[in-house]
């Protein structure tokens, strides 16, 4: 029996392979990850689903050592410029939480990991990045 899964955010698709889906402004092409009323760039109100690449380049990062209660630290937060457009923030896995691990132009790829299970047995699935 497979466990029921739910993505932690609406812009993550788990099946058939994990990827992100943006809302693309039909008029100007601006990409958004949240529910929209209109486009912040041009004001138009028509959007279409736009599949984002699962690979990209490091744009910025920080190594978080202090956070609120129950947030495990340290960890690396990254913003990734996805190939072909769009950018997204996520955690970086697979490297030590050390700024020396991060280089300009570093290539990253999207993966997924479980983020907990609710009382009905449904598993939340989060995305994260790792070195490509």
């Amino acid at each position: 029996m497979t466990t029921a899964q739910i993505p932690v955010v609406g812009y993550l698709r788990v099946e058939p392979v994990p990827h992100l889906v943006a809302q693309r402004c039909v008029a100007c092409g601006a990409l958004f990850l949240d529910r929209r009323n209109g486009c912040g760039r041009c004001g138009a109100e028509d959007f279409e689903d736009h599949r984002l690449a699962t690979t990209g380049t490091l744009r910025s990062y920080t190594v978080v050592h202090r956070s609120g209660p129950s947030v495990p630290v340290p960890y690396i937060s990254v913003v990734v410029d996805l190939d072909g457009g769009g950018c997204v923030m996520g955690n970086l896995a697979g490297v030590r939480p050390d700024p020396a691990q991060l280089m300009p132009g570093q290539r990253l790829r999207l993966t997924t990991a479980g983020a907990g299970t609710d009382d009905a047995g449904t598993e939340a699935v989060a995305f994260r990045f790792e070195p490509a």
């Binding site: 932690v8 910025s60 956070s67 630290v73 700024p99 009905a120």
Partner: protein
């Protein structure tokens, strides 16, 4: 766009510190307001409009509560909130009322009682005890709080992201970011109103606990309490006032506010740069001055690494050259363009609603030649910048001039 004929007639701030439970928001606002009115040599009944900025208590009618202590003259009053640009927004409102001809004299007050409330309070993860059922909610359709799961949106995290983006592009080092804090802590030793007045060595700053790399604890502003106030007057009214008032008045050559234009990281991480660049560009154009004309700058160093980016955003250094700029000691008080000679948010403190007006107070005090031990000699033109996440930027350019 030309600048309206607006002047600062009076300015004041309380010490920034942690006040006890017997001092509330209205006490702080009243102290700053009374001091600014005294500095302006204006009686409160002559004030035509009041704007009171506070980020934490805007829904408690603080402006009306202040009027009950200053005198209920029946003037229009505004309760203002605009994140860390709250105090500057209050000043903008007073300026707008005077520029529109609805008021001759306006009073802008900013006050905050933060206590020890940290800025990490929203960084929580779900409790694992008790029942829960995953159900998408909010504009991102999230089934869990995502702090620490999908990166970070804490204040230190956001500003550190912005800083590493600049560092990846331009090769800025951790040591260069830390030098900003070394400078501002050193500057604060000359400011009796600063929350902290202690110098730290570069080694101490770099060895302090990391909050969000590259910012260590000594590279993050503290929370605290305090208030600041500014009296604004029209040029026409100023010319009817006394010699001493005219002599000490400081010209507002530009008062600009901008909000964040769309950029490709919108909704992912706040862009603190574009909003500042557009505000600075408009302020320089309005005032008819450039970065080389500035004798001092008070800018929004909520984190040491953010100050470094604003050297570039405000055009104080060559494009991409902010690291070299701090290495050259240009922004030290004896350098080419002194930056945050008050100690900045890092050491003077950052009671949110007061910050924007405290920056104005600092610049005004230098332009009047009244800054005592920390006076920048013969200061004639100064710039005050604040940034509120969301984002909003306010830039004021002030000049010593004959009324």
């Amino acid at each position: 766009m030309s600048s309206p004929d607006l002047w600062v007639l009076g300015a004041a701030m309380t010490p920034f510190t942690r006040y006890g439970p017997d001092v509330d928001l209205v006490d702080l606002a009243h102290r700053a307001a009374r001091s600014a009115l005294g500095d302006a040599a204006v009686a409160f009944p002559d004030v035509d409009v009041l704007a009171l900025g506070t980020a934490y208590e805007p829904n408690t009618n603080p402006a009306q509560r202040l009027l009950r202590q200053l005198g209920q003259t029946g003037i229009p009053a505004y309760n203002v909130v605009n994140a860390c640009a709250t105090g500057a927004a209050a000043l903008r409102l007073a300026c707008l009322a005077v520029a529109a001809g609805e008021a001759d004299i306006g009073l802008a007050v900013g006050a905050e009682k933060m206590g020890k409330a940290g800025l990490l309070g929203n960084a929580t993860r779900p409790k694992t005890d008790g029942t829960r059922t995953f159900s998408p909610s909010g504009r991102y359709g999230s089934v869990l709080p995502v702090e620490g799961l999908l990166g970070t949106q804490t204040m230190p995290g956001i500003f550190s992201h912005a800083s590493t983006e600049y560092a990846l592009q331009h090769g800025v080092t951790f040591e260069q970011f830390a030098r900003v804090a070394e400078k501002n802590h050193a500057h604060s030793t000359l400011n009796p109103l600063a929350q902290y007045q202690k110098a730290f060595s570069l080694d101490e700053i770099m060895a302090a606990d990391t909050v969000a790399w590259p910012n260590t604890l000594l590279m993050c502003c503290p929370t605290g309490d305090g208030a600041a106030a500014v009296v604004v007057v029209s040029g026409e009214r100023l010319r009817s006032l006394g010699d001493e008032q005219r002599r000490r008045a400081v010209k507002i050559s530009a008062s600009v506010m901008t909000t964040q234009p769309w950029t490709e990281t919108d909704g992912v991480v706040y862009d603190i740069n574009t909003v500042t660049r557009t505000a600075a560009h408009r302020a320089y154009e309005t005032a008819g001055v450039g970065p080389d004309d500035l004798d001092l700058v008070e800018l929004h160093d909520c984190f040491a690494s953010a100050e470094l980016l604003h050297y570039d955003n405000l055009g104080l250094c060559e494009p991409g050259g902010a690291g070299d700029f701090i290495d050259s000691r240009a922004p030290w008080r004896d350098g080419r363009i002194p930056v945050n000679v008050s100690g900045g948010l890092l050491s003077k403190g950052h009671p949110i609603g007061a910050t924007g007006l405290a920056g104005i107070y600092e610049v005004v005090t230098h332009l009047r030649g009244e800054a005592g031990a920390r006076q920048i000699d013969d200061a004639r033109v100064g710039l005050a910048h604040v940034l509120g996440l969301g984002s909003t930027c306010a830039v004021h350019i002030l000049e010593r001039a004959a009324a």
